[in-house]
């Protein structure tokens, strides 16, 4: 028996978004859990079939709160504690004018959090990925719809899973090598 490297998974290509969604449903019904669909644009139906935890709103909210506190404290610290300047007898902690910058920094912190935590959660930048080995994978950014059942799935078996995917309405199926 020859030793073969453990594959990353097996993948199938479809030419229609409907076929892909059907295939994902069938794979879920078959008991597969670790899988990923690759599409040229977001497909709403996949969000329901492939569940995931989405922490992004929480992170963005907390960053916004942090931004608000940072901005207000910075202004209070500078205007009332370290550089107190009496302007026309107004109170040093004149909070109404501080609201503008508090608002701006809330938005700035939250927006940076939205962008950078999206990159973090998605694992970007990741210039290499086993899926890029598939010769026609470049169609995933144009008109190709791909499904990959990953090798770390409990049900995964290189032969059986390949046979299962081939039984669906796929154009091609591949075993994706992982190195």
């Amino acid at each position: 028996m020859s030793w073969r490297p453990r594959p990353y998974g097996v993948a199938a290509e479809f030419d229609d978004p409907g076929d892909l969604v059907e295939a994902v449903r069938a794979a879920r019904a078959e008991g597969y859990r670790r899988m990923e669909a690759y599409t040229p644009y977001p497909i709403k139906e996949l969000d329901e079939i492939l569940p995931m935890r989405n922490y992004l709103p929480l992170v963005v909210f907390l960053s916004g709160v942090l931004g608000a506190f940072t901005a207000f404290y910075m202004q209070y610290f500078i205007a009332a504690i370290v550089y107190p300047v009496n302007v026309g007898g107004r109170p040093l902690n004149s909070w109404p004018p501080f609201i503008v910058i508090t608002f701006e920094l809330t938005v700035l912190f939250a927006a940076c959090a939205a962008f950078f935590s999206m990159l973090f959660f998605a694992g970007f930048p990741a210039l290499y990925h086993p899926m890029f080995r598939i010769p026609s994978f470049r169609r995933a950014s144009d008109d190709g719809f791909f499904l990959c059942i990953e090798a770390d799935d409990a049900h995964f078996d290189a032969q059986d899973t390949l046979r299962f995917l081939a039984s669906l309405d796929a154009l091609h199926v591949w075993e994706v090598a992982d190195e």
Partner: protein, 467 residues
């Protein structure tokens, strides 16, 4: 029925005179990708691009010469003087930052309102925003006189024993404009990532493959990534919506918080925001109409897009007209002599030409947009948008100069005249904008491919060509 069959079925010839359609019939996934990445990857550029870019480059050189002269000699080369200390630089600042507003409005507010017609125009409108903010951001610094110490306005730990004055709108402006620039840039790049992956996947040379590969960050269209991408876009849109309204509000605070007659008015924030969106849509049209012709984008940028922009221009123009009417009314109703004098001086004083041209350019001429015939005629629409861009510049000039040159004390009155350097910097900044924008058009996908794909009738699983 596979997708090719569906695409063929959808490829019926367009109905004659159909102006309501978003995408021309016959648009396919591959068609969209080929068309948009083709602009970036093909070595030839249209004649119009070459001409505009060359003119922009010459103007940019003029800009560099002018600001070198201004910085090495001092702001004395400009017409700015007491009492008209703001003049051209701040007029240019407010004009440019206003133009930027339409980009964020299209990308954020129209996204939240599910206006799918925005999908063809949001990308280049966002790019326009960023470059307009780049142009705007330079003017407050340039007119400081000593721009190399502009960073003193930031609250950084220093040994100067002074700090930023957080009660001053000028400091608010720094935060508002820099936040706006950052958020616009992040939003724009977030949307670009999937499209840069499309360009990467079609790259022909190693350099292109490498450059777009790095820029695309390894995007592979995984459904989980799409979900994060969508969540991040929606959140950024939700954050950018109050931001875009706040930016021009803060810009208007620069004026309203001063006690000067003609500036000290509560109508300024909505007045400025409406004017900003008005001029921004004018710039979107002024860029979209030639681009669509040169790059043959009529199938993606249809009559309906142009017409909708025209309608929004008309609506914001009417808000502006209302403000123009309310301003003399409130100054008369207030009974304040100085306020009334400002209105009188605007109408018949030395800068009356600016007041009357604002009314003609911003109120009278845009009324042509009431007629569908004018909104669907690209030449007329293009000319109206240029008219609005000029009108909005003159409006800011009128607000700044007429109020400053006649304040409370006749002893401090003085007239204002711009110098050649003033004009060189204004036209030069347009050159900078044109150069940046046309470089963007050349090297980045100018229409959001993945959002256009979503609009195609066969993009929905289970949805056929019937929709």
């Amino acid at each position: 029925m596979n997708v090719y069959e569906k695409q063929r079925r959808a490829a019926r010839p367009p109905e004659p005179g159909a102006t309501g359609i978003l995408l021309a019939a016959g648009t396919t996934f591959q068609g969209v990708t080929d068309q948009i990445t083709g602009v970036v990857l093909s070595p030839d550029v249209p004649q119009g691009w070459v001409w505009c870019f060359s003119v922009g480059l010459i103007a940019l050189l003029m800009f560099l010469i002018a600001i070198t002269a201004m910085i090495s000699t001092g702001v004395g080369v400009l017409g700015n003087n007491i009492p008209v200390a703001w003049a051209f630089p701040i007029t240019n600042f407010v004009w440019w930052i206003g133009i930027g507003h339409a980009g964020t409005l299209i990308s954020a507010i129209l996204l939240l309102l599910n206006q799918s017609w925005r999908n063809s125009i949001n990308r280049f409108a966002e790019a326009m925003t960023i470059f307009a903010v780049v142009c705007a951001g330079m003017f407050p610094m340039l007119h400081l006189g000593r721009p190399w110490i502009a960073y003193w306005i930031l609250p950084y730990p220093n040994t100067l024993t002074i700090q930023s004055q957080f009660r001053s709108p000028l400091v608010w402006d720094v935060f508002a404009v820099s936040t706006y620039a950052t958020v616009s840039l992040l939003f724009w790049y977030l949307g670009l990532i999937p499209d840069l992956a499309s360009v990467r996947d079609r790259a022909k040379t190693r350099i292109e493959y490498f450059a777009y590969g790095i820029l695309a960050l390894g995007w592979r269209g995984a459904s989980r990534h799409w979900r994060w991408h969508k969540t991040a876009s929606k959140l950024l849109a939700g954050l950018a919506t109050p931001l875009v309204l706040s930016v021009h509000t803060v810009v208007s605070f620069d004026f309203t918080i001063a006690m000067l007659p003609g500036w000290h008015s509560t109508i300024f924030p909505p007045y400025f925001v409406a004017g900003a969106i008005f001029s921004g849509f004018a710039m979107v049209l002024a860029l979209a109409i030639p681009l669509r012709k040169w790059y043959h984008l009529e199938n993606l940028l249809t009559q309906r897009h142009l017409e909708n922009c025209g309608k929004l221009m008309l609506a914001t123009g009417l808000v502006l007209a209302y403000t123009y009417a309310i301003e003399p009314f409130t100054s008369w109703y207030s009974g304040d002599k100085f306020e009334m004098y400002v209105v009188h001086n605007r109408a018949v004083g030395p800068f009356a030409w600016s007041y009357w041209s604002v009314l003609v350019l911003n109120v009278a001429i845009p009324q042509l947009l009431w007629w569908k015939r004018n909104r669907t005629n690209t030449t007329i629409l293009f000319l109206i948008s240029l008219d609005v861009l000029v009108g909005m510049w003159v409006e800011r000039y009128m607000i700044i100069v007429t109020s400053l040159h006649r304040d409370f004390m006749p002893s401090s009155w003085n007239n204002y005249a711009a110098t050649g350097w003033d004009n060189a910097i204004l036209y030069g900044s347009i050159g900078l904008f044109v150069v940046l924008f046309f470089l963007f058009v050349r090297f980045f996908p100018m229409i959001s491919m993945f959002e256009v794909r979503e609009l195609l009738p066969f993009s929905k699983p289970g949805g056929g060509s019937e929709k």
